[in-house]
Symmetry: C2
Subunit: 224 residues, 2 copies
């Protein structure tokens, strides 16, 4: 599966959070990073190239800082220029996700919080675009006050980010394979033998579960 990350940020080089996320996914050949302000400093979008790019990817991610409770204007401009009703049929069935970076604490985005609305509510226009195109809308990854996050929180964030970008959302088998692959990679990076053992154990568990589920499926098929 190929993933396209469309980023809108007026100063991506100066953004710690954006750089942190991008460093976490370097050298992954199935991920294309596409920063609009770098490509189009004058705001003139190459519509045909953008459409080709969307066509070549199965999962489309919009990544942006929250500006006045939505994306920066540049990403809206991209939508206004690139999206078109004629493409509904051709583009249906894609996955669509949002990575939203906010300077305000998560607890404010709820009834009774200072912002009064949830991030899911604020992102409704994007969800409705996904609905219109027949895209599978992935849960929003909203990152709050990145600069105050601990090392541990940031590690956990990278895992969630990686999942949003590449974890298949369809079959359980594919999802298990994804986890096995990532746990094995993690195990290779570790030097501590206890940690290595724990990760190997996790992989064994996942594979055993996968086998068990396969057996159950065969049984169900025979009952059918």
């Amino acid at each position: 599966m190929k993933t396209l990350i469309i980023i809108s940020h007026p100063d991506i080089a100066g953004s710690h959070s954006q750089q942190f996320l991008l460093e976490g996914i370097t050298r992954q050949k199935n991920i294309t990073v596409h920063h609009l302000e770098t490509l189009y400093p004058d705001g003139k979008i190459n519509i045909e190239e953008e459409r080709l790019l969307v066509e070549q990817h199965q999962r489309i991610i919009f990544q942006f800082p929250l500006y006045w409770y939505s994306s920066p204007a540049m990403l809206k401009h991209w939508q206004d220029e690139v999206l078109e009703e004629d493409l509904f049929d051709r583009w249906k069935g894609k996955d669509f996700g949002l990575v939203v970076l906010a300077g305000i604490h998560e607890r404010e985005f709820r009834a009774g919080g200072r912002e009064r609305v949830t991030m899911d509510e604020l992102m409704r226009p994007f969800q409705t675009v996904a609905n219109k195109f027949g895209w599978h809308y992935l849960p929003v990854l909203s990152i709050h006050q990145f600069n105050y996050q601990t090392e541990e929180e940031r590690k956990a964030l990278l895992v969630r980010y990686q999942q949003l970008l590449t974890l298949p959302n369809e079959s359980l088998n594919e999802r298990t394979d994804w986890f096995v692959r990532h746990l094995r990679k993690l195990s290779e990076e570790k030097t501590d033998s206890v940690q290595k053992q724990r990760l190997a154990h996790l992989v064994d568990l996942l594979l055993a579960n996968q086998e068990e589920i396969e057996d159950l499926k065969t049984t169900l098929d025979e009952l059918d």
Copy 2:
């Protein structure tokens, strides 16, 4: 009360609905019409002038066609450039309204409709901006499939538009005065004597009600 209508539309001269609305409010000295694409064809907004304009008006209206379930990018650009946290205190207490023109039928904007969401939900980012600034958020005036509307529907639309632009939302007295003023103006324009009589009767009723409410208030004050 002075009202500022900030319009974003890439081709306002070619839009029947926009022209219809604007023709309905010509020569009203307390309404300022401000079309962004005419003023800033290159997208470079004069931030200081825009802030001054907002400052000079009590009611701010955003008027735009629905593009991908939000405003055109230009209006978002205006927000990104002009709005600023430092202005929260200075600008608080304004009225804020939206006039949204949509090509899709109203019945699709609800649970179970094709769009699945209501217009109120889609406009949540604007409502949250209003909340942040301490503005009074007026009910959204959403206009659906203007080109299919009958003459009668369009007349009713102009009344709702005029109310959104100029009807005070605070005191009942001010609201009554507004209606009396508008009914009298309407009566002057009519030639049919039956219609004139009916309108005069309505004005009498409103004024009588107003007096009665005043009396009740006095009674309440005496009981206090």
